[in-house]
Symmetry: C2
Subunit: 479 residues, 2 copies
């Protein structure tokens, strides 16, 4: 009887601590309560307190550091299980993301779904209350502003704030070098339409964000895939080989916290890729939407920081950090500034005004940095959790990336598994995941999925991961 | 002495009445004070009162209707002075609007300029106060909404309101047939990218809104110009001839209150053009941004109202009637709905959310109709004034359109005048006009300008028109 009660107790303690970690009360590298403190707090024996930490250690939540105490772990799973890098064909490919990515995004809006696939931030993480108060004031005070189209470059105060932000990425940019866009997707479109034309070949990462493929498809261009390493992104030598052997009109990369890998290129690689492309006179389009959500802070430098020839077109947005629904992004186009400005004019004259003024005001209050720091902590925590659960509940031989930031996890399943089937089965159970074929123009990565901890956390996430894991295991058996 | 005083008096009375008409105290078709009333009010002789009305009649402000009284005139200038219809070459033309239209729009934002060219509504006409209060409330109440991308089709309540509006244009549309866009320019882009591809030939009106040319240029398509009549828009038989002799992939028209002509096609012509294009299996893209600003109310039917085969893609926006800075428009794509939806997804996933909710709420209050009615009255008044002044101060042989709505006036100057030179000279005097070459892919209409009464009225407009007229007269002398 006594033993039974103690068993119950250490599980209860472990569960309490687990929740505290999940809720962000204890963050990565935070010291946990000592064994003695736990024993006092819960009025249990030292042995029971130790047992509780054994559970958390085993689950990967905590680690004991000799002579220091017990800490929240940084990364739960070691690198040996990283997904395999695929060496894609280096021939240019016509792109057709097909309607799949669209259904995916649409389905993800459905309220009844557990959103385990979409790279969108959770509403609990975003500073929506502060933003709404700001916008409410702005729309009253600046009531006359919607009478005219906004400045083609974007609202000037917002551009000033963006210039400040870009310092953190190692970029010195004048506000007049910035063009505000309808999200990063418009920025990518403007960039590509400026530097390349229908039929041209564009070098991209493999796997890459399907939005990049969308834009390439829309503009009738072709994609050449470049091999990536799960932790460090594209391999400069692989890119070198491709640009020597083929006519490449532009290169689109996510050097920091790529989507879907979560990889960040080492600074040396960034510098050498920027230089290599400049020598070959190939413009680099840098997508940095996840850069500010890097787990290592201060955030890593942008490739643009190494741009001495002004040939990097830097694209980013506030969709991952502040408000997806505002649809506000920007581009710094370097020597292509005038052309990009003209393309923006051809598109829609200017970006909607009130959300721009709102963001400018919000950013001026310095709340953004605090809020980003908090967001990063939460995502890191959730990612640890997600990786742990996937590791626990997915089939044996599942491999995971070790994201350097952001909210998405790239998962390689056993080869028997067709992730599109898995996606459909999960959807029947009201869970949305992102099948791997979305992330390649050749629809490779058939046994990969992208998972996200942006929108889902805690018990709900656990339940969804368990269910998808079970569906995957069933497929292995069938296969 | 007595005579002199009377002269002063009738001029004073005429000036008072003129101002009352300009200020909208007396509107088109309103009965003016009788001659007896005037004589009593100003304590002058009947003869002096008659003299005052003689001046206003001569200026085109008023007209005497036998046995009824004196009324504010509907149209100041008779049709004999309409600009000449140009028969453009019917070969497909590569389009390059060049940077000129961009500088034009950019310059028009400059605060020091008298904006006599841009087709943007004046901030005194728009319901900006009511909109700002609505948005302020919306951003507080709906604070969570920017956490997710809006519905790809657009905010559902806004689509419901738009469906209601479209009834006025004779169109029965289900809210799910509507896609909300970043202004009408995006709607046009989506429509054209859906029904045609690079290199395809698109039939357009000549002259046409330069935004249409922008989109055609951006998509690498070609333009075939169709002759228009200043009052009635394109000539169905001219269009017939072109589609019989050439491969036309789509046709873009502004059947109601075209820009820059202000022409409205007779309903029969709309019906026959829609039918003709349907038989030829050529989709019609209808740009209806000025339709609600027709001077004849209830507003004329859209061409879409005659669409029995669902092949008309209807585009419109709130930029001319509510808030240009919101950048909210829409498209009803008929049988192309699914493809347009996909193209919108490729572009920017969805339109910014808070302005959509704000418009939905504003429109639900029925304030829109009242406000449009008021706007139409003001523009009609200002247009009368503008035409009168141009007639008075521009060189002899200047011809004007007789706009059926909206705010723009198409002016044919003597052939010696190069309107681009005139544009530059006017700019030096801080007045912005729109040179005619913007409105044709071949840069025809060299001696035409588009003027606008949207932003400028009263003394400021008069001063600007006088100045431009003087510059034009000088050019005639030089020429």
């Amino acid at each position: 009887m006594r033993k039974r009660k103690d068993e119950y107790l250490y599980e209860k303690i472990a569960s309490d601590l687990r929740r505290s970690i999940n809720d962000g009360i204890y963050c990565v590298n935070d010291r946990m309560p000592s064994i003695r403190a736990l024993s006092t707090q819960y009025m249990v024996s030292i042995a029971t307190a130790i047992q509780a930490y054994d559970v958390l250690d085993g689950e990967g939540f905590t680690e004991s550091r000799p002579k220091s105490g017990i800490f929240v772990r940084k990364q739960i799973i070691a690198n040996k299980e990283l997904p395999e890098a695929i060496t894609p064909h280096s021939r240019p490919t016509e792109v057709s993301v097909s309607q799949l990515s669209m259904s995916l995004v649409l389905e993800c809006r459905a309220k009844h779904l557990a959103k385990l696939g979409a790279a969108v931030p959770g509403s609990d993480v975003l500073p929506l209350g502060a933003l709404s108060r700001t916008m409410s004031g702005v729309s009253r005070r600046m009531w006359k502003s919607p009478a005219v189209y906004a400045d083609l470059l974007g609202f000037s105060d917002l551009r000033r704030q963006i210039a400040k932000l870009m310092k953190d990425a190692g970029c010195r940019v004048h506000p007049n070098e910035i063009i505000v866009t309808n999200g990063a997707l418009e920025a990518l479109t403007l960039a590509l339409r400026t530097v390349a034309k229908t039929g041209d070949a564009i070098a991209i990462e493999s796997p890459t964000y399907f939005g990049v493929l969308q834009v390439i498809e829309k503009l009738g261009m072709k994609a050449i895939e470049v091999t990536t390493q799960p932790n460090t992104g594209i391999d400069p030598s692989a890119l070198q080989k491709i640009i020597l052997s083929r006519t490449v009109k532009a290169c689109v990369l996510m050097p920091n916290v790529s989507n879907p890998l979560g990889s960040t290129m080492p600074d040396d690689n960034k510098a050498s890729v920027v230089k290599m492309l400049a020598v070959a006179q190939i413009p680099l389009i840098e997508d940095d939407v996840f850069g500010t959500l890097s787990y290592s802070q201060p955030r890593p430098k942008a490739a643009k920081a190494y741009d001495t020839t002004n040939t990097v077109l830097y694209c980013s947005s506030f969709s991952k950090t502040l408000a997806p629904g505002y649809r506000i992004g920007w581009i710094v186009a370097g020597k292509y500034q005038e052309q990009v400005k003209y393309q923006k004019f051809l598109d829609n004259i200017s970006t909607t005004i009130i959300p721009q003024i709102t963001l400018a005001e919000f950013l001026s209050r310095d709340a953004y940095k605090r809020c980003t720091k908090n967001t990063v902590r939460i995502y890191q925590q959730r990612m640890n959790q997600l990786r742990h659960w996937v590791y626990q509940y997915f089939p044996a031989n599942t491999r995971l990336t070790n994201p350097q930031g952001g909210m998405v996890l790239w998962v390689e399943l056993p080869t028997e598994i067709d992730s599109l089937t898995l996606y459909r089965l999960a959807l029947e159970k009201n869970i949305a995941i992102s099948p791997g074929i979305l992330f390649s123009p050749r629809q490779e990565y058939k046994n990969y999925v992208r998972l996200s901890c942006g929108n889902l956390s805690g018990e709900k996430a656990l339940k969804a991961v368990k269910k998808v894991g079970m569906l995957a295991k069933r497929q292995v058996k069938k296969g």
